[in-house]
């Protein structure tokens, strides 16, 4: 994939590094000369100096053949205009904008930006998940735009599943156990695996099934 990233701050820098490591073709555009020298040393030809909200700069960057354009400057109006130009002029199939002020999130999506990332909102949801963890359900990974999660559950002694074999347990639709942590051991569950006190269960679950699963445990 060819990915253009506009904005070489912390987010743009780390994103470029990550995507290059995954062997994508990446071009990072940064306008600030005090930043570009250091970035060029690390990224070489994957760095371009220039103002990414200029049509001419995006053209030079090859925006017409980019699969994704990501605008992650610290200024919302710049991120919006960059993505809109990428869509309107260069028919870029996917544009992603960083939203610095969470109030702008819904505006960006009504104005045609395909996806937004708000660090404020991410931090909020991380805190929220930590709070949820207090009732012993720890989300480990959120997959596919938040629809599927891998969670870790401390099986409570009073759980109806205690002492039962996996095949006897009727899990809610959209939930499956992927492993059982028993002491230092990882047990791959089979039909005749029995759940015993002290077990931690790792499950893959759809968001809509999470509540039902939690009630069973």
């Amino acid at each position: 994939m060819y990915i253009i990233i506009v904005g070489g701050g912390k987010v743009g820098y780390n994103l470029t590094k990550l995507l290059l490591a995954e062997e994508h073709e990446v071009l990072l555009i940064e306008k600030d000369k005090t930043k570009t020298a250091g970035l060029a040393r690390e990224f070489g030809e994957s760095l371009m100096e220039g103002n990414g909200s200029r049509v001419s700069i995006l053209r030079e960057a090859g925006a017409n053949r980019a699969d994704v354009l990501v605008a992650v400057t610290g200024t919302d109006e710049d991120n919006l205009v960059i993505c809109q130009v990428a869509k309107a002029v260069f028919k870029c199939p996917r544009t992603i904008a960083r939203v610095n002020d969470p109030r702008n999130e819904s505006l960006f999506s009504t104005l045609g930006i395909d996806a937004t990332v708000s660090s404020t909102r991410l931090i909020d949801s991380l805190i929220e998940e930590q709070v949820k963890a207090e009732d012993m359900v720890i989300p480990l990974v959120t997959l596919r735009a938040g629809n599927v999660e891998i969670i870790e559950v401390d099986l409570s002694r009073s759980s109806g599943m205690m002492g039962k074999k996996i095949r006897e347990i009727q899990l809610p639709e959209g939930a499956i156990f992927i492993s059982i942590l028993r002491g230092d051991e990882v047990v791959i569950p089979k039909g005749d695996t029995e759940l015993i006190p002290g077990d931690k269960v790792v499950a893959l679950v759809r968001k809509e099934a999470e509540q039902a699963l939690r009630e069973m445990l």
């Binding site: 200029r54 049509v55 001419s56 919302d76 919006l80 205009v81 702008n104 505006l107």
Partner: protein
């Protein structure tokens, strides 16, 4: 008509002064209140200091229905974002946007927004003057 002007710089304050003479009611908004110094004292010019994305500021500006919204801050991208946001939120019938960058101006024109590019105007004007003189 009730006309809202965002940005009280050279163009914004001149627009306000001129439009009030034509009998319109003006609300002019600028984050920096010192920018209001070039406005005429007129009962039909309401000055609002603050960021239009703040709710209290927006409530003041849109207390009465708005017929025209004009964005003339010094930043093209701010003008473009605020105009689109206000147009969506308040369904304003007419929105005019100053865009210094001629290419950007025509991109947004193609998207259906009414943009005004000073560079293009200067270009046309100079070409006309040269045609007369040469």
């Amino acid at each position: 008509m009730h006309i809202v002007i965002l940005g009280s710089g050279r163009l914004g304050s001149r627009l306000a002064n001129a439009l009030v003479q034509k009998g319109h009611k003006i609300t002019i908004v600028d984050a920096e209140e010192t920018k209001f110094k070039n406005l005429e004292e007129h009962e039909s010019i309401q000055r609002v200091g603050g960021n239009i994305f703040n709710e209290e500021t927006a409530d003041l500006v849109f207390a009465e229905p708005v017929d025209v919204f004009i964005a003339v801050t010094g930043s093209d991208n701010i003008n473009l974002m605020v105009s689109q946001a206000m147009q969506k939120k308040y369904k304003i019938p007419k929105v005019l946007i100053r865009v210094f960058d001629p290419t950007l101006s025509s991109v947004y024109r193609d998207l259906g927004l009414e943009t005004v590019c000073p560079t293009n105007f200067a270009l046309q004007e100079m070409l006309k003057m040269l045609e007369k003189g040469v």
